[in-house]
């Protein structure tokens, strides 16, 4: 005991600091366990959310890709890109007149 007791009359229980150290360590271990539990709980929710997002992506992305890949290969621009031919005025006129005829036929059906 030091001058806190001599001059101020402040006492502490026997073996207080030893017991206090143990209590502090116990509390810290308890808090750490709680933190780990909370983390595991959070991890569980995160996993479910990840699976849910994965399913959403799985069902939405393919349909989007289909939309993206649905283009008219007969269009003058696309067909020239595919074939490497040069776009001429004659080619465009021919394409649209052909489409017009085909539409007429389809409409007739």
């Amino acid at each position: 005991m030091n001058h806190h007791y001599k001059k101020l009359g402040l006492r502490i229980p026997n073996h207080y600091f030893k017991r206090s150290k143990e209590e502090i360590l116990d509390k810290i271990n308890l808090k750490e366990e709680q933190l780990t539990k909370n983390y595991n709980f959070g991890y569980y929710y995160l996993s479910i959310a990840a699976v849910f997002i994965g399913i959403l992506i799985f069902y939405t992305i393919p349909s989007n890709n289909e939309n993206l890949t649905e283009f008219d290969t007969n269009s003058p621009l696309i067909s020239t890109l595919i074939s490497g031919e040069e776009i001429t005025d004659e080619y465009i006129i021919e394409f649209y007149s052909e489409s017009l005829v085909l539409n007429e036929i389809n409409f007739g059906n």
């Binding site: 030091n2 001058h3 806190h4 007791y5 001599k6 001059k7 101020l8 009359g9 402040l10 006492r11 502490i12 229980p13 207080y16 600091f17 206090s20 150290k21 209590e23 502090i24 360590l25 509390k27 810290i28 808090k31």
Partner: protein, 181 residues
């Protein structure tokens, strides 16, 4: 053990627990006595001490080493004590420049207080001081902290700390001498 080596242990996850046990051994008593002189009752001091170490454990990874490790721990303990006193007084905030009207009441209510003439005289003088004056005096006289450390812990200008301490020391010496005549 030097603070640098202790910090290395504390910052490494593999040795943090070992370092923390050493940290308790090193500062527990000093921190307890600083808290005890602020909150007065042993049971309350025990609660504040535990809360201080829990905060130290949680915050050690973010300790920026802008001050000494011991100063940082003292500062946490000081703030924890003020937080406790604010809660206890049920007031919005402790007035640092006012005296604690419940000082004697709290002291005599504690079972771990033995009153004799000298201690009663000391406490009578301390109870007449403001919260700020009392803390500065206690930290320098009993806890033997340096003025610079006290300034950092309490967030008070070092020159103010010095002038407060010397004026309180003079007052206490005078009153003790007068009472022993």
């Amino acid at each position: 053990m030097k603070e640098g080596a202790l910090l290395k242990l504390l910052k490494n996850p593999a040795s943090k627990d070992k370092g923390f046990k050493l940290l308790i051994d090193l500062y527990q008593e000093k921190i307890y006595w600083m808290i005890r002189k602020m909150v007065l009752s042993h049971d309350s001091s025990n609660d504040v001490l535990q809360e201080t170490y829990i905060r130290v454990f949680k915050g050690i990874d973010n300790f920026k080493e802008k001050s000494k490790l011991s100063t940082w721990i003292y500062r946490i303990a000081y703030n924890e004590s003020i937080r406790f006193l604010n809660k206890e007084s049920k007031m919005k905030k402790i007035e640092l420049d006012s005296t604690d009207y419940n000082y004697s009441k709290k002291l005599f209510a504690d079972t771990f207080f033995d009153a004799d003439n000298l201690s009663l005289k000391f406490h009578q003088i301390l109870s007449e001081l403001s919260f700020r004056q009392r803390n500065i005096f206690n930290m320098k006289y009993f806890d033997e902290l340096k003025f610079e450390e006290i300034a950092k812990i309490t967030d008070i200008n070092i020159n103010t700390v010095k002038s407060v301490y010397y004026s309180v020391e003079k007052k206490i010496k005078k009153e003790i001498n007068e009472s022993s005549l």
